[in-house]
């Protein structure tokens, strides 16, 4: 599903590579934790998958597309196959929960009938029953992140990228978030989650890829956050 072949990314005016010679494959339906200290290249990894950045060297294959050969006008089609969740939720404050999720379908031109049917389903899936008409500022952090997950998942992407989704949420609520991600993963969606949260990684026992200074230092099935912790 996601394949990095000797990928190196160096940002302009920086002498150190953000990612150096990264070579790995993430298969369809996998749940992968991406761990490592700040600046280790986790975000660059996710941005490369989204083709927000392009590698200086190496090849990236995402959902059957060679990103180096993907023309600009085909990038939106790639991104429709990828859902994204962030630490800061990125909801539209002037739209209701339902409108926020529907927005993701409206802007890719889905018909209104489809939107009307699918959005409530997804909101129920992430555990927001009865809160469809709330505004984001009437929700707790955990609930806001659920809205963001519903929006990322509403178009049934093949891949879900989560960049520290529990970073702004207390540990108890984080468990709920992880349950939703797990549920999404069980539908066959590949999930890649960058995180600092050792407790979550240790409790889930999924594949762990550890980055340090842009290099993969550990790739372990059913791994934990780190030996030191």
């Amino acid at each position: 599903m996601i394949e990095f072949q000797n990928v190196t990314k160096i940002y302009p005016n920086q002498n150190r590579a953000a990612l150096e010679n990264v070579d790995m494959t993430i298969n369809k339906g996998e749940f992968v934790f991406l761990v490592g200290p700040s600046g280790s290249g986790k975000s660059s990894f996710l941005r490369l998958i989204l083709r927000e950045e392009r590698p200086n060297d190496g090849r990236i294959l995402v959902a059957g597309n060679d990103l180096a050969r993907l023309t600009n006008w085909k990038v939106p089609a790639l991104r429709r196959k990828i859902g994204c969740v962030f630490q800061d939720f990125r909801l539209l404050p002037n739209k209701t929960v339902e409108q926020n999720v529907a927005f993701a379908l409206e802007v890719i031109g889905k018909p209104r009938r489809f939107t009307k049917r699918v959005v409530p389903e997804v909101l129920d899936l992430v555990g927001l029953e009865g809160k469809h008409d709330r505004m984001p500022d009437q929700l707790s952090g955990g609930e806001q992140q659920r809205v963001a997950m519903a929006r990322a998942f509403v178009n049934r992407p093949m891949i879900l990228l989560a960049d520290e989704p529990t970073g702004n949420i207390d540990p108890a609520t984080s468990i709920g978030i992880m349950k939703v991600l797990d549920r999404i993963n069980r539908t066959g969606t590949t999930v890649v989650m960058a995180t600092h949260d050792a407790a979550i990684v240790d409790s889930m026992r999924k594949r762990v890829i550890e980055l340090e200074y842009g290099k993969v230092v550990r790739d372990q099935n059913r791994g934990v956050y780190g030996q030191a912790y």
Partner: protein, 301 residues
């Protein structure tokens, strides 16, 4: 394509930076109406010029008994007149030569000032110089050749070129037109900068929305269309105002000019429509292209 979604986005965009939008509409309106006024002036000058150039003549005033000119020694003789007529007829640039006697000149004069008898009572027939009225084949090009051929010839009092009189009028109109066009062009530059700024502000105001649109895979076209249409709609609203102003310029200013002439050199409604349509094309293209170029800088994939 969900058209009501696009319209909703445009409405939100225009409303959120209302002051910028108003400024934009006003500047577009003024620049387009000045540009249009310039174009109307060009048309007006052209239509009067063609009219007059076909009518323009050279008048060769002959000496007469009461002539004040020292080069005249009494009235021009019949022989002198015939000599002049022969010279002129021989020239290929001359279409026709007509002799106007003192009596005919007096009759024309009385007719021209029939509504102001004080002019008529001041003069009498013997004050009127007889003349040779020369019609040229190509007035604009041939005037100098013909006039110099007869200037200073014996029996000639003076040579009057109607082109000289008209040139002053044309210079005035041309200057007016140039001034209007220069101011219009400066305003067009201001309008372009304002469009760019408005679109940039609008893109900045909605960076949250556009960021999400990019992430969920909305096409560039879908992301940019509301902004593009925002610029074009502001341009169109400016154009509507400009059209009203142009109709005003035509009916209040140029039609008033017409009353100073006793023949029709006025602009038709067709000319006005042509200018208004041209202004619309310029306004829409200018706003659209500027928006598009601004968006390429501020809404990258």
């Amino acid at each position: 394509m969900r058209s009501n979604f696009v319209w909703q986005e445009i409405w939100v965009g225009l409303r959120r930076n209302l002051t910028m939008t108003i400024a934009l509409i006003v500047v577009v309106a003024i620049s387009l109406s000045l540009l249009g006024t310039g174009m109307l002036f060009v048309k007006q000058v052209d239509s009067t010029r063609t009219y007059w150039q076909s009518k323009v003549e050279i008048s060769v005033y002959l000496c007469y008994a009461d002539s004040a000119n020292p080069t005249c020694h009494g009235a021009a003789t019949v022989a002198q007149t015939q000599q002049l007529e022969q010279t002129l007829h021989a020239m290929p640039q001359v279409e026709s030569v007509t002799y106007v006697s003192q009596a005919q000149a007096w009759a024309l004069y009385k007719q021209a000032f029939s509504n102001d008898q004080s002019y008529v009572s001041m003069l009498k027939q013997t004050d009127m110089p007889p003349s040779l009225e020369i019609k040229l084949v190509n007035p604009a090009a041939d005037y100098n050749i013909v006039s110099s051929a007869v200037t200073g010839a014996s029996g000639v009092d003076s040579v009057i070129d109607e082109m000289n009189i008209l040139d002053k009028f044309y210079r005035l109109l041309d200057g007016l037109r140039n001034a209007v066009v220069i101011v219009a062009l400066i305003l067009v530059v201001a309008a372009v900068l304002l469009v760019a700024n408005t679109i940039r502000l609008s893109a900045f105001n909605r960076r949250r929305e556009t960021g999400i649109m990019r992430l969920v895979g909305a096409s560039n076209f879908y992301i940019q269309l509301p902004f593009l249409l925002e610029g074009v709609i502001a341009g169109l609203l400016g154009w509507v105002l400009a059209s009203v102003l142009l109709i005003g310029v035509k009916s209040l200013l140029l039609n008033n000019l017409q009353q100073y002439f006793n023949y029709n050199v006025g602009l038709s409604t067709g000319d006005l429509i042509e200018v208004i349509v041209l202004a619309m094309v310029i306004g829409v293209v200018l706003c659209g292209v500027t928006s598009f170029l601004t968006l390429r800088r501020y809404l990258r994939v």
